[in-house]
Symmetry: C2
Subunit: 269 residues, 2 copies
Amino acid sequence: MAGQAFVTLATNNNYAKGAMVLGKSLRNHKTSRKLVALIGPRVAETSRAVLRKIYDEVQLVDVLDSGDMAHLAMMKRPDLGVTFTKLHCWTLTHYSKCVFMDADTMVVSNIDELFAREELSAAPDPGWPDCFNSGVFVFQPSYETYRKLLTACMEQGSFDGGDQGVLNSFFSDWATADISRHLPFIYNLSSIAIYTYLPAFKQYGHNAKVVHFLGKLKPWDYVYDATSKSVKGQTSGMQPNYLLQWWDVFSSSVVPLMKEEYSEQPFYR
Amino acid sequence: MAGQAFVTLATNNNYAKGAMVLGKSLRNHKTSRKLVALIGPRVAETSRAVLRKIYDEVQLVDVLDSGDMAHLAMMKRPDLGVTFTKLHCWTLTHYSKCVFMDADTMVVSNIDELFAREELSAAPDPGWPDCFNSGVFVFQPSYETYRKLLTACMEQGSFDGGDQGVLNSFFSDWATADISRHLPFIYNLSSIAIYTYLPAFKQYGHNAKVVHFLGKLKPWDYVYDATSKSVKGQTSGMQPNYLLQWWDVFSSSVVPLMKEEYSEQPFYR
Ligand SMILES: O=c1ccn([C@@H]2O[C@H](COP(=O)(O)OP(=O)(O)O)[C@@H](O)[C@H]2O)c(=O)[nH]1
Ligand SMILES: O=c1ccn([C@@H]2O[C@H](COP(=O)(O)OP(=O)(O)O)[C@@H](O)[C@H]2O)c(=O)[nH]1
Ligand SMILES: [Mn+2]
Ligand SMILES: [Mn+2]
């Protein structure tokens, strides 16, 4: 399946840590697809080196320095910076189909079956469930779609200030057109759902395939104690503890790659 | 459309107030369908009299005193009391199709178009969006379905202790089978969604058709000042203010009926 890839995005060193864990979680669960990381210019060379050990492609996406349409769009709507960067995934036309995954997601199971889906497939957003959550979605790279998305973005902006608003306005029949475009919620399980409707999580959560650390606080914002395998200041002992699972992948699969690269372990606290 | 009805449930005088507002909101928006209220034995005669002025049918549902299968089920699972009562709506076989609505819902628009949908149609639950919310659903009365539901309820219980768990386990292919069974979220708009994803509410909320006061605090738990048209202790001035709309229907459409019935206005504070 050389023509298919998982794609993520990291514009800074923190999100790069997320991308490392995501990439490693995909490898640990033996994906047969390619892995692509889009990175912004602020990602340090040291982080890039680690990402290159995990991803098949690490591609610099720099809308500010390019003279193309994205640059123009960016000038008109500077508030939508990261959004424009994310839309760049549609330019990966050397792949026929891709699955975009936020850098704050982690797979807990092989999810290669997602490539059987068509553009645009995504899971509902808890909160406003007639919108899809743009943390995990199946898409088909295409310059034409890319141009249309940028134009829509420039002209109508984003109702939520981010890529989720733009993508939902663009793929506006997602809620009503075709059930096969609805990914099961277990492909984009966010912590918010666990708290909002705990009985459903207890009933269906064991089938989780992708965990999404949606919201302000990301896994890398916590302090982890590798000896006791615990996270400082963490809230109640929710089982299964996805935050600990993230840190487990980070310390067992990512840190060794960092150590190979530098002796002083610059990211690991 | 004599064969079709909106159905609600109230097991006590408080939920009966909700049923009154719901019924009046349906009438105010000129529904052409029948209105049915299922009530429990604890609903006072005074409340029943008011309900009868709004609803075409007010039917006493008393699982505890009946000698049938519901009684048996109830003995085995006393924890599911209100749930068993709600399932009774399937016994309304003199209608060919019905829309069940929680007593804590209110329509803000005519929704007769819902009768074009088939069993079981419902809107996604914000929180765990692969479950439907059981506050508004289209169903087809049938003794056979009723018996099967009771059996499922008795044997497997409810994963959330209520009717929503039972119904989601029974109609388990809702999330994946047929997009036409997904009611748009605006047919069951709950306040929780407004807070969780405010930009989406600002974008799509003006199309709201049914408001659902899901959660612990119900409209009738607030204290309303009819002179200033304000609710005591109310949180931030969310626009549109559905809570005030509920109280407006209550004071303008329900209170006059209560006054007709009794001089001392027993429910109105
Ligand atoms: O400063 C940023 C913010 C976001 N992102 C990327 O955009 C995605 C969406 O942002 P985020 O996950 O923070 O939003 P949430 O899922 O919490 O709404 C991230 O996962 C990253 O892939 C990024 O690279 N840098
Ligand atoms: O003591 C009760 C509890 C519930 N109900 C009925 O069951 C529905 C579901 O309960 P509720 O709306 O309180 O649950 P929520 O929507 O907040 O989850 C109510 O709207 C009523 O129609 C009732 O009649 N008496
Ligand atoms: Mn995210
Ligand atoms: Mn309710």
